[in-house]
Amino acid sequence: MIHFSRWKIILILGLCSLGLVLAAPNLFSKEQLAGFPAWVPKSTLNLGLDLRGGSHLLLEVDLRSAFKERLANLVQAIRAELRSERIGYSRIGATRDQALVVIRDPDKKARRGRGGQTNIERAAKLLRRLEAGTEVDVSGARITVSYTVEARRERDSQVLQQSIEIVRRRVDEFGTTEPSIQSQGSNRILVQVPGLDDPERLKKVLGQTAKMTFHLLDERFGFGTPLPTVAPPGSFFAKQRPDKRQDLQGGPPGRVYVLKKRVVVSGEHLVDSQPSFDTGRPVVSFRFNTIGARKFGRVTQENVGKPFAILLDNEVISAPVIQGPILGGSGIITGGFTVSETQDLALLLRAGALPAPMTILEERTVGPDLGADSIAAGQIACIIGFILVLVFMVMAYGIFGVFANIALVLNMALLLGGLSLLQATLTLPGIAGIVLTIGMAVDANVLVFERIREEVASGRTPLSSVDAGYRRALTTIIDANLTTLIAAIILFEFGSGPVKGFAVTLSIGLVTSMFTAIMVTRLIVVTYLRLRRLQTLPI
């Protein structure tokens, strides 16, 4: 324990210098760092949102609803397929997990030229090749089509990826630096946006699916006619957006329309959308791509003088009358908007619709001033804790306390360097973790020093006391720190956000403090003893 080979000394000094070099960038400002040559390490501490200010939002994608829509489409496809083959059915629809159809006259021969198959055989054959990743099950006259587990999982992950992409586009529109958007689990998205002035707006923008569709009104139930109790086939009810303002071109808020189910054109064909003004009123202007423009042009041409409705997430935002054919593919939406509403709507339309609705499960927003206050308070706590421990160690162990303090300073450098290198997020509890590490880091040294004192008391020579002290304390140090490390690692696994940051600093702190106590202090103590050749140890 008192012999260091040359390579070991070089390794210890090398690691310490590396720690100092990696920690050094934190002393400089971003601007200063940018001026340094390229080979200088520039990673600084990665501050968490609770320190730099910003919003943390946990979103959940409603995969169930996306799946429901997919099933509805499947039912549509089945219906079309059976119709084109003229196979009759008595029932068709979707259950919770599958599409179901009951074939009429299942055992009757299908149309001529189909190889003598019965209706049910023919239908099953058709439905089997309808869509990849489906399983078809026939029992009696019933055919069920369900998605395989893999197909469903794959689609779910697609929906999540698409949602992340749309969320990213929407967040990017806010123009903040370094937003982080990542998936969490199979159906969640964690959005972290530093330095945001208006988190409410972000939440509003993220909370909307923004599915825009254009529908014609069912002419039998135009303005002024009484509404039917149930929607007629091919039509559906839609409500005017519940807003306090009255739309000049639509009805009052909450007004119910009967709309044709067929979508004339939808938001997916939009190429651009901007907030704008029309005769002094805030409006949203939009432009379709070629396909959208063609569809929109044809319908407006055929329906001049008739009203149509623009729906956003199944609510009518505007129901103007078609004044004339709109052939250029661009138009405006008037909806009694405020300026900021047109800005948000234009943003949503530009970024595109989400494949499934999302809900915000959790929000944690910290204002920039609280973040700055927390950093300042954390720094003061660190410095004061540090000084208290330094003074106490010198009081308790004299010159050996000074050695432990050198190790403690190096320990801090290694900890900061490690955090910068790993780009681990430093949070407010993380700062508490650093301060706690300061207090606990000296423990390994205390264990050794106490042991040396005992050895001295039992009459050993200084060198032999130091040797035995380190040797005997070693297993204790490792056992004691490993058990604490176990708790810290589990905390990291299960904790979220700021708590994770605490676990990271605590874990790195434990490792660096073991290194500095066992290696660095020992090197200093041994070197000191060799230089001074003392008869008694000043401990």
Partner: protein, 318 residues
Amino acid sequence: MAIFPLRLVPPNTKIDFIGRRKIAFVFSALLIVLSLGFIAVKGLNYGIDFKGGILMEVRTPGPADIDGLRKRLSGLGLGEVALQEFGRPDDVLIRIERQPGGEKAQMVAVETVKAALGNDVSSYRRTEFVGPKVGGELIQAGILAVVLSLLAIMVYVWFRFEWQFSVGAIVALTHDVVATIGLFSVLGLEFNLATVAAILTIAGYSINDTVVVFDRIRENLRKFKTMPIETLLNLSLNQTLSRTLLTSITTLLALLAIYIFGGAVIRDFGFALIWGVLIGTYSSIYVASPVVMMMNIRETITSGSVGGGETGQENPAQ
């Protein structure tokens, strides 16, 4: 150098810790019963992390008129609204209970509150809301984390020592965890994710302390094969006493710095850790070691089934 080095504990102390184990057991039993009683009857003041709900920290232009703000917010029909000064007279912490009706309702309530506060607030320092779904998951994750880490520590100690030590460690740790949760119940401190982190850290600190004592007990068991177990435990505790106190003091110094200067947001966290260091130090002396003794550790060790440790082969010091 006359006063240095300062010795907090004179060498060769002979304090009879084990002799007082009965008093300690009564004290600990009382502590645990009281803690469990308070947890059962008074319950815990769960923060929004677990309960769901809304938390806002706002700064007002001048000293906050808390009663006025409370009246205004109570009129919004958002259920229970709690306000308190937070660290400074112009800082107010607003807690609003979980809104019925899922995730969206929480978001709407945040908007309502912001609209109602209007110009009475100069800045929103913090806005947090946790929906019912996440809250439930966080409780589960928190409980799982505490239980798993206790088990992992137990297994580690079992692996490195004898099973008797592992029992002693787990009893001491559970003692610390229950007493800490009990303290939160008694004082009505907010129990949130940071508290779970504090509990795990306390467990980490306490086991650290306990393992140091265990290490010495194991060493002495091999060295002094005929020493009565009571004497041996007392010897081990006295030998490690100086270290126990020194480490506790340096850790407490650092924690006091967090508690006093670290800001209002982590004050409770710092407080929990300070309590943890005290209870952890107490339990490694008065709970963990007596439990090991009660498990008849002597018989296992002297029958010679010990593994590990390099000190075993050495000649005993006088």
